[in-house]
């Protein structure tokens, strides 16, 4: 019997399969390059010059404490610089439109957002920022925050690859190499392709045009192409324009939409290959990649099926949501006609998986179950995850999994040839718990704050989801917004800013400590009782632990938001 696959589902498979196939192909190329970058003993001329100017000894083998402190304090300095420029914008040269400085709370939020690779925006780019601020603050912080994350993953993996070592390498070398050898070349090439596709790249602030109706309209311009490259390759996500990648200047063609998605997935996926290569266990890298991919496909399927089903409340109003010759069908609220349900679902799945935050559709308009899947990926924070931190988060859960498995069979757990003991488990738990602590804590405070209701566009469960999404997005360093929350208030700017900082550093620093402790350990020879971690069984166990711990932690919050909204929608009550 021949199985009939509806045309729209066939279209969906045809559109997402090439993206994932190309990504998988690039995993090997970029992964090998990153492994070489982190292990090569040779410093290039430009790098040597940089070390000399900065007074850095590239041969220094930093302890994890020194590595973490260098990462943290350099980030603090860059955040302060960003804050000052945003506060002084009005008085800095180069903006003929004379846009005002950001308010102190907004500047704090923006600086925290971009240094933590979150890129949550409580402002609209074209209305709030001069081209100078877009380049000197936004693009600069997007570059260095991505370099920070990838460098941390390099130092972390190097720590896990060593035995009996007092250090995990030099942070300055990792940071500089990631910037010079990976991000800048990739962004340069990608920017040229983007310009070819029609994305503006100019220092002009605007152009005045006469519309078809005869009125005059100001079109904002700027260095958008270069901005878009690091925005996606760096898993940043903040838009040059307020509507982000739904804007035709940010995302003019189907090719740019595809390149945006590939850019977001490129480094998080390739780091699995780099990890396997650096620890000299390539299969381990592939099994981690498999875990990422399996979770991603599950969430993608949930998002697409929820959006494809459409909104049942519209059916009695006579709205045709069926796919046909003239429309793709499904829930089209908040989605662009040129992307439809298929490309919007795929883009939304990618941007919340890779914790980028770039959007080509409005996430608040997704069906409750579609919105739940978007929230779920950020709550887990390791379905590919952001540049560097996604891999680190997955390894945290892998260590947790071997610990739980070890406890079940009464053996001391082992990971990558070393015993996992109480000290590193405490660090892992600190990293794992900081994430829900920030999300649920700030959400609870915001729900109790009397002023929160004034910021909500919707009441009931959808309003709760708007608040929950803001802190999930902030803590997961994603940055996408569940539109509907007016977040530009001192309360939300401050608390979301703090959630971004906690989500970034209170999960990253304990894991760098884990790398340092593991590097100092001696080899524990594998025995027949050792739980092999590069197997399908362990991968399935790892995914189960991630989903179970994520579910147990966040299900009550999800039940108050998207789950009850879904049930009410089925009962005919909109929000």
């Amino acid at each position: 019997m021949e199985m009939h696959v509806p045309d729209d589902i066939r279209q969906f498979i045809l559109q997402f399969t090439p993206v994932l196939a190309i990504m998988t192909g690039l995993v090997v190329i970029v992964g090998k390059w990153m492994a070489h970058l982190f292990t090569s003993p040779t410093h290039h001329v430009l790098e040597r010059g940089t070390y000399r100017i900065l007074g850095v000894d590239p041969a220094e083998n930093m302890s994890w404490k020194r590595y973490g402190a260098a990462l943290l304090l350099s980030n603090a300095a860059m955040m302060m610089l960003g804050y000052l420029i945003l506060r002084l914008q009005r008085h800095l040269p180069g903006d003929p439109l004379e846009r005002a400085s950001q308010t102190p709370d907004l500047a704090f939020n923006t600086a925290a957002s971009f240094i933590t690779n979150t890129n949550w925006q409580s402002y609209s780019g074209e209305a709030s920022l001069s081209n100078f601020s877009q380049m000197a603050v936004i693009t600069f912080l997007m570059s260095v925050s991505a370099a920070t994350g990838v460098a941390a993953a390099g130092g972390f993996t190097r720590g896990l690859s060593r035995m009996g070592s007092s250090g995990i390498g030099s942070y300055w070398v990792d940071f500089t190499r990631v910037l010079y050898r990976l991000l800048l070349p990739l962004c340069f090439i990608m920017a040229i392709v983007y310009v070819w596709q029609g994305i503006p790249q100019t220092l002009d602030a605007d152009v005045i045009v006469t519309t078809l109706e005869g009125s005059r309209q100001r079109i904002i311009l700027g260095p958008v192409a270069s901005f878009e490259t690091i925005k996606h390759i760096g898993t940043n996500g903040g838009g040059f324009f307020g509507v982000n990648a739904a804007h035709p200047f940010e995302n003019p063609t189907p090719l740019t939409n595809t390149l945006h998605m590939l850019g977001m997935l490129l480094i998080p996926s390739a780091l699995t290959c780099a990890f396997g290569s650096m620890i000299k266990r390539p299969p381990q890298g592939w099994f981690f990649f498999g875990a990422f991919l399996a979770m991603f496909l599950g969430f993608l399927t949930l998002i697409y099926s929820a959006e494809r089903a459409g909104n049942p409340l519209l059916a009695p109003l006579g709205v045709d949501q069926n796919p046909g010759a003239w429309q793709g069908g499904g829930n089209m609220e908040g989605k662009e006609l040129r992307f439809g349900v298929i490309q919007s679902s795929l883009f939304a799945a990618v941007t919340t998986a890779a914790t980028t935050g770039s959007v080509d559709s409005m996430h608040a308009s997704y069906t409750p179950l579609g919105g739940l899947a978007l929230l779920g990926q950020m709550m887990l924070n390791n379905v590919f995850g952001g540049d560097g931190v996604g891999l680190i988060n997955l390894v945290a859960y892998a260590i947790l999994t071997v610990f739980l498995a070890g406890m079940m069979i009464g053996r001391t757990p082992e990971f990558l040839g070393r015993k996992v003991e109480a000290r590193e488990m405490k660090y892992v738990m600190l990293a794992v718990l900081a994430h829900p602590f920030s999300i649920l804590g700030f959400t609870a405070i915001a729900c109790l704050a009397p002023s929160s209701a004034d910021s909500l566009a919707n009441m009931g469960p959808h309003g709760f989801s708007e608040i929950l999404y803001a802190y999930v997005s902030g803590t997961a360093n994603n940055g996408s917004a569940f539109a509907g929350l007016g977040a530009d208030t001192p309360f939300f700017n401050t608390t979301i800013g703090l959630s971004m900082l906690i989500g970034r550093y209170f999960t990253l620093l304990p894991m760098i400590a884990v790398a340092g402790v593991m590097a100092s350990k001696k080899n524990a020879p594998e025995s027949p009782g050792t739980l092999a971690t590069a197997t399908p069984l362990f991968t399935a166990l790892l995914i189960s632990v991630i989903l179970l711990s994520g579910g147990l932690t966040f299900l009550p919050a999800l039940a108050l938001g998207p789950i009850v909204e879904h049930l009410l929608m089925l009962a005919g009550r909109p929000f």
């Binding site: 401050t494 900082l501 209170f506």
Partner: protein
């Protein structure tokens, strides 16, 4: 709550009254060199915004806490 009152909670009246020499120097410098506010806005003190000071202190406090985390992890 006004920014002035919030500052009193965090820093005491001394800052607002300009009794604390270190801050007074910063504020006087801010009035001359830093174009924040205009000195008459209720959210500014002598040219420097109280909110700016608060957010800078909040940032410093956070990174000090994170540095403390690095130093304190060994004790776990």
């Amino acid at each position: 709550m006004s920014p002035q009152n919030l500052c009193r909670i965090y820093m005491g009246n001394t800052l607002w009254d300009g009794e604390f020499t270190g801050f007074r120097w910063i504020l006087r410098r801010g009035h001359r060199a830093v174009p924040f506010g205009n000195g008459t806005d209720p959210q500014t003190i002598r040219g420097a915004s109280m909110w700016d000071l608060l957010y800078i202190m909040l940032t410093v406090a956070f990174f000090a806490l994170a540095t403390g985390l690095i130093l304190g992890l060994d004790r776990l």
